[in-house]
Amino acid sequence: MPKHETPLMDELEKGPWPSFVSDLKRQAEKNPQCWDIVGQMELSFKDRMTHWKHGGIVGVFGYGGGIVGRYSDVPQQFPGVAHFHTVRLNQPSSKFYRTDILRKLCDLWERRGSGMTNFHGSTGDLILLGTRTEELEPLFYELTHDLEWDLGGSGSNLRTPACCIGKARCEWSCYDTQATCYGMTMKYQDEIHRPAFPYKFKFKFSGCANDCVAAIARSDLSAIGTWRDNIRINQDEVKKYITGDNVANGGGIPGKGEKFDIQKEVIDLCPTGCMWMEGDTLKIDDAECTRCMHCLNVMPKALRPGVDQGASIMMGAKAPILDGAQLGTLIVPFIKMDPDNEFEELVDVIEKCWDYWMEHGKNRERLGETIQRVGLPTFLRVMELEPIPQHVKEPRSNPYVFWREEEVEGGWQRDVKEFRAKHAQ
């Protein structure tokens, strides 16, 4: 039975898109707290303001993250949500679930929490939404013992890594995104659970430049799959696209139903102009290709990534707070991502970066901001990387170079008296 009058919320039960209000009400039959969620949201809709208070520190023993505290600012009216903490579970890489484990999780959360979830949080965690402080320890116990499942990150630590579906179901994945994501998650459990960084740090793994987990926009360190040899071309399949026997874009972009035109839709849109037809044979000047994925997306049956595959490492992406958003900056153009040597090359990059950032990063400074503050040349030196043109879009246009003393012949120590001896004042 509904506990509150909620005419505004009820309005959102109409319409074709799935309604979270109907869903909340459905769960309320089992978890009556849900009536208070709907009730408090109704009040927010009326007041046009939130009714949640500042978090407060809650958690489980030994962990500095994984739980976000939350309290209602109208607890008398809505006692069911007086405490309403979030539990972040580390999702399995690329988010496949067996139903037996999901059902166990449902039973657990029905007893220990509100019965509501987010599948998933923006970082990737499976979010259990809303429970009381005294439930946290028992919940953690049952989670680790009965489901063999651990919490994700929150706070100034390594946030839960995430990856695209990769080799599990995508033909373009240039390295094993799941194995990398899981491998790094397990290797850095301590960094995920016990905040010791200046601020948050995110890893995201995309198998190709389509970047389905938006790694380049939001992770301090992203690995984006690429290759350094030639696009594999199947000329017979190219011909079938031209004749219309193959459907471009796998059928995903029908447009207005016009006939496929390889010149207009592929060759002219190649950003580097490195493709052309010789008769009915497609040619690519691979040395000029920047592996943007456009032609592969349009003709998936005909074109495949090369076989010498690896990843580009971008660093320092972040949302705008405070100095403005940053996209990931190319730091390592190509490394091999090899599960057999436990991703040695990647680990080396990660740890060099952390060593520096943990010592030199200021409190609440994301890696991207540290790099801006100290300058990319300094950061490249820290990473022991040769500066190359790939690190910039274009050379700088101001001449304000920070020369270092050891780079200047004779150093900086000079005798002004000697100068004066030749140059009268």
């Binding site: 496949f96 958003a325 996209l327």
Partner: protein, 376 residues
């Protein structure tokens, strides 16, 4: 055994990480890992992946509200048990994917989903509006300038046909974040809906002593708008507190995050800004940020008609004018932003001219421009 409150550290298990992903795979994924050759989108919401072994995997993608109840998840499990050997998957954009290993199993699955009311809209593939990545809003956060789930529901009800069809020039990614923190990383979306405040924080002098460390509150402001001050609280007692230089404030809410005695949300002051033209993928052009085109729309629950209309206008104008493959930002850049404002009939205001740090990067420093209606 179970948890023993007297002895919480007994048998404690920590740092075991998530369940291993391989345990979660269906057979066809396990067998064909890394062997996929190509894919097709058979119809909106239905993907077909073909392996070099000849195996096929059919995926039915459905939208979801992201805020999900356990009863709903159990229903998802029922569907997966019946059709998909007990495996289901979620995508990054909050869609649910049901996978089967033969074409003959697709239609029964689709029929089953269709028979469950409006809970499982099939779509979200190819040149569509995929599901809206979003944050918590009034459902669970203390800093929002707008709601999340409610706005998303209102927007998706209106754009529904673009989710279930592939009738756009390219894909269009819509995202929502309810404050400038942007937990959802909306800053690279084709259309971003962003909660913004417009009133500087109030200072609750009666509460500040107990709630905040004053130096942290002062340091929290990126623009140096907060200064220590000696003031009288409501009982007339002199206390140490802070004052805000309102002219310097950019309404980021960072102070409230550090100091709960400085609330800034307001029914009239807070609302929504619309940013467009961002992109994450590297296809053709590189990734780009979304740009602010509508600085403010009011919070009008339960259905936010102004925001819904603005999103729809941008989407439909782009769809009618862009070339095939052109994302919203690529289109706007080709025609020029002055044309964008003219065609969409969005009023251009000084709020779209950058005056924050590095602002100069976006000012026009060439004599090339188009004579649109803006030039009187």
């Amino acid at each position: 055994m179970g948890y023993d409150p007297q002895n919480p550290m007994k048998d404690r298990i920590t740092d075991i990480g998530p369940p291993h992903y391989e345990k979660m795979f269906p057979q066809v994924i396990k067998d064909n890992y890394g062997k996929w050759l190509y894919h097709e989108i058979v119809k909106p919401g239905v993907l077909k992946h073909v392996s070099e072994t000849g195996a096929e995997c059919y995926t039915v993608r459905v939208g979801s509200a992201r805020l999900l109840s356990l009863e709903f998840i159990r229903e998802v499990c029922d569907v997966a048990d019946k059709h998909c050997d007990g495996v289901v998957r979620w995508t990054t954009r909050n869609n649910i994917e049901f996978m089967v290993d033969a074409e003959s199993k697709v239609q029964p699955l689709l029929d089953d989903l269709a028979g469950r009311g409006n809970k499982f809209p099939v779509g979200g593939t190819g040149a569509c509006v995929s599901n809206v990545v979003h944050t918590q809003g009034w459902l669970h956060c203390h800093t929002p300038a707008t709601d999340a789930s409610g706005v998303v529901k209102a927007v998706m009800d209106e754009l529904f046909d673009h989710f279930t069809n592939m009738d756009l020039p390219a894909k269009c990614k819509v995202a929502l974040a309810c404050c400038l923190n942007m937990c959802g990383a909306v800053h690279c979306s084709d259309i971003a809906i962003l909660g913004v405040h417009r009133k500087p924080p109030m200072v609750d002098h009666d509460a500040i002593t107990g709630l905040c460390e004053l130096p942290l509150a002062v340091a929290s402001c990126p623009l140096g708008a907060i200064k220590p001050a000696t003031v009288k609280d409501s009982s007339g007692k002199e206390i140490k507190s802070v004052k805000v230089n309102a002219d310097r404030c950019m309404f980021c809410g960072n102070c409230y995050t550090m100091c709960p005695a400085m609330p800034l949300a307001d029914p009239e002051g807070s609302g929504i800004a619309i940013l467009v033209g961002g992109k994450v993928s590297n296809t053709r052009s590189g990734p780009t940020f979304s740009k602010l085109v509508i600085p403010f729309l009011p919070n009008t629950p339960p259905r936010w008609p102004e925001t819904v209309a603005a999103v729809k206008n941008i989407l439909e104008t782009w769809a009618a004018n862009a070339r095939k493959y052109e994302r919203v930002g690529e289109w706007a850049e080709r025609i020029g932003w002055e044309k964008f404002f003219e065609i969409t009939e969005i009023p251009f205001t000084d709020k779209s001219i950058d005056d924050y740090r590095l602002a100069y990067d976006t000012w026009r420093t060439t004599t090339q421009f188009k004579f649109t209606s803006h030039i009187k």
